[in-house]
Assembly symmetry: C2
Homo-oligomer: 447 residues x 2
């Protein structure tokens, strides 16, 4: 007799597999494939020796070794929390004191993803509204879907979040009486995933003003996901939204050591306004009462030795080169075709490639042709949440120059070019005129 069914929670029923997992898994079965899809980091430059040395130093120290292998605290190693503040102060050119911040305002998490999850859990009930960029980071979209909230996308352009569109959306919500359901505004404001674009300097204070203006009955928190900030290849470092929030009231700054150091350490951090620090810690106490303690000691040692800083600085020219290889190859191949544009990111890991005509979806001809040619991209529609049951924009791709070597990037773009030509040849579409009429999402644009 088969046992009766397991009855799952409402939250579990709302929590689906990310489409990207299925897609990547399927693609992994294709031998010889070049993945420009994965958000992994460059492998050859991972700091194996430096971490091994830090590990020796920490574990063979009779005081720190046993401490590192013992339980830590829910909030995380105090020394590393101090260092996080110091590094942020350096990046923003101001002291933690000026920002009203102390190590008590920092929490260390299992990657910055855990912080995003905890934030959603602390703030969101089904029916609440979250404002995000469209397109945006799809794993956070999954988190929001799981919490049963309504996600409204705001278009982005080369200068990041379009503030007039945000204002218009918010006014519309206010007229509908829905503005007080807005709890969070989520922005990847440095070298965004998936477009590579950065929130322009002049928009930063304006964004905060807008959020404050529309925070009438309840405070709308800004989540500044700065995951790619350290991977900056040109231009000055822009001040964080956090640094403009002098009283530590409006902005949660989420950072990570995954991109500038090593994802395998899985250590993220956040700066939290005081009203949500304890609630976040109580939840994290239930999740795990503290992330891996050894890893926190290793990072503190790497920072004390300057190894972390050297690694971060070493990565810049390396990724800049890979980005340039991708952009050059795009110009040499797809640049010869009509109706194709792409972003030119000043940092991060991604180029956003937009077609006037082609359907880039996982079931479409381009995805199929690309697989047959041996290259994988992330269909742009994964970076949107469908609104009102409509299919989201599906004429763009996210291309990553993170894990692929320069040779693989070059060859991957060539394969993509061949796939585009095959599809266009067989369907006979595409002309320059179509560039101006991409599919426009309900609230947002492929840009």
């Amino acid at each position: 007799m088969s046992p009766p069914p397991i009855v799952r929670s409402r939250k579990s029923l709302r929590t689906t597999d990310s489409p990207i997992n299925f897609y990547i898994q399927k693609a992994l079965e294709t031998p010889g494939l070049i993945s420009l899809a994965a958000g992994l980091v460059d492998e050859g430059s991972l700091p194996c020796e430096a971490v091994a040395q830090a590990c020796q130093a920490v574990l063979l120290d009779p005081r720190r070794g046993p401490a590192a292998l013992q339980y830590g605290s829910t909030q995380g190693l105090p020394r590393l929390r101090e260092q996080v503040l110091h590094l942020l102060g350096q990046a923003d050119g101001c002291s933690p004191h000026e920002l009203n911040l102390t190590p008590d305002d920092v929490v260390l998490t299992t990657g910055s993803q855990q912080l995003l999850y905890l934030l959603a859990e602390v703030l969101l009930d089904p029916g609440d509204i979250v404002l995000t960029e469209a397109p945006s980071y799809f794993v956070f979209h999954s988190v929001l879907q799981s919490h049963g909230v309504q996600v409204l996308g705001v278009p982005v352009d080369e200068g990041g979040l379009c503030l007039p569109a945000l204002e218009e959306l918010w006014e519309q919500l206010a007229r509908q009486g829905a503005a007080e359901r807005v709890k969070l505004l989520y922005t990847v404001d440095y070298f965004q995933n998936p477009t590579g674009w950065t929130l322009a300097a002049e928009r930063r204070p304006q964004l905060l003003e807008l959020v404050q203006r529309f925070s009438r009955r309840q405070r709308v928190l800004v989540v500044e996901d700065a995951a790619y900030r350290e991977l900056r290849y040109e231009g000055p470092d822009l001040p964080s939204l956090k640094s403009l929030d002098r009283d530590n009231r409006w902005v949660v700054y989420a950072g990570t050591f995954s991109k500038p150091c090593a994802p395998g350490l899985k250590c993220g951090y956040a700066l939290l306004p005081p009203e949500i620090r304890e609630p976040i810690l109580h939840l994290k106490g239930n999740h795990d009462f503290g992330s891996a303690h050894l890893v926190q000691h290793l990072l503190a040692e790497l920072i004390d030795r300057g190894e972390y800083q050297r690694q971060r600085d070493r990565l810049r020219p390396l990724y800049r080169h890979k980005r340039d290889v991708m952009l050059d190859e795009l110009a040499a191949t797809l640049g010869q075709e009509a109706g194709i544009r792409w972003s030119r990111p000043a940092g991060g890991l991604y180029v956003w490639l937009a077609f006037a005509d082609l359907d880039t979806g996982p079931q479409g001809a381009l995805a199929q042709a690309a697989l047959e040619e041996g290259v994988l991209y992330v269909p742009g529609e994964f970076a949107y949440l469908p609104a009102d049951g409509e299919r989201p924009p599906h004429h763009a791709c996210r291309l990553s120059f993170g894990v692929a070597t320069p040779e693989q990037i070059r060859e991957g773009i060539r394969r993509l070019h061949r796939a585009v030509r095959r599809v266009r040849h067989s369907t006979g579409t595409a002309s320059a005129g179509q560039l101006n009429s991409p599919a426009v999402p309900p609230r947002g644009t492929v840009a």
Copy 2:
């Protein structure tokens, strides 16, 4: 002008600080204190050199080093999942094949606590019912409270969960039409936290039969929290409930490397019935898309070298000695007083000390006197959830011999004895006759 308030989620409002944190923090301010409260592990025996060597071996290997510092998968390192299965098979004397288990059924988590959290999230909606031992592991109680579920405690005795009491409770629920809200039965079935007692061999199949019998419309999953299984100081290893669940349908087995190896690695694991494996992974994908990858490589290396197994075996005589020191000192001191009993655990980290008369609560005279004498215990009431607003049983203490040295254990028990005498002297209570009339909780007993 102060900003408007942050409006938190219903879940956050249900998630409170564990009382133990406040208590421990307050106590930490007392210099010279001996803590018999903390659930930490023995510090001198932590395998610093072995982990340092494993770290060198992994990170300086040109293939594994970069892999260990790169992102891993949500489910965790395949090699370590294989090893987990192998170790479990060894402990239970059967092959994974016989249990219908493959490495696909294993998930690696940020300590076993994360698994407990994910399970609660996947299964529980507010109003659902969870059956636990009374007393039980208080951090899981916090998780359950946060999920808004009703927690019903079943008494435990020297043989673990009292099955007649469980059956009676379940029949009562069935009569009330509430049985179909029962989703989980949680048991720490080896050397329980906080009593130190183990579920007797003959009760194991009976427990499973009972669960199957009462799983009428929905399946009630058994969570077997085996966190202390490897810390066994005498007697044979009893078969896990999991090993009695031949079709992998009823039992989630939660294990950890924290106790038998090192909490600082923060790696737990679970064996999951197939119907909840994907739902758990989807949620974990949102939490962190995989725990720290480096740590998983380190553990795989420690197991391959046999270092993990040697460490686990080395710990047994060490903790056995500390347990014996605590039991001997209890006999020599509190054993001379009337109305006091304690458990004699065959493993784990805890002794449960029950008074016929004294209030052990954090606001009581004993807690105050103990602090003044310089010793800290966990008030037993923290290990119960209050039912119907009534104060839970408050005449026991949890004493840990985990982190204290033998000398500290001896001195700590002496201090506790002085505290007991001071309180009894000042209140003039206690006689042998009172032993038989301890406060009895609504559903459960201090035992």
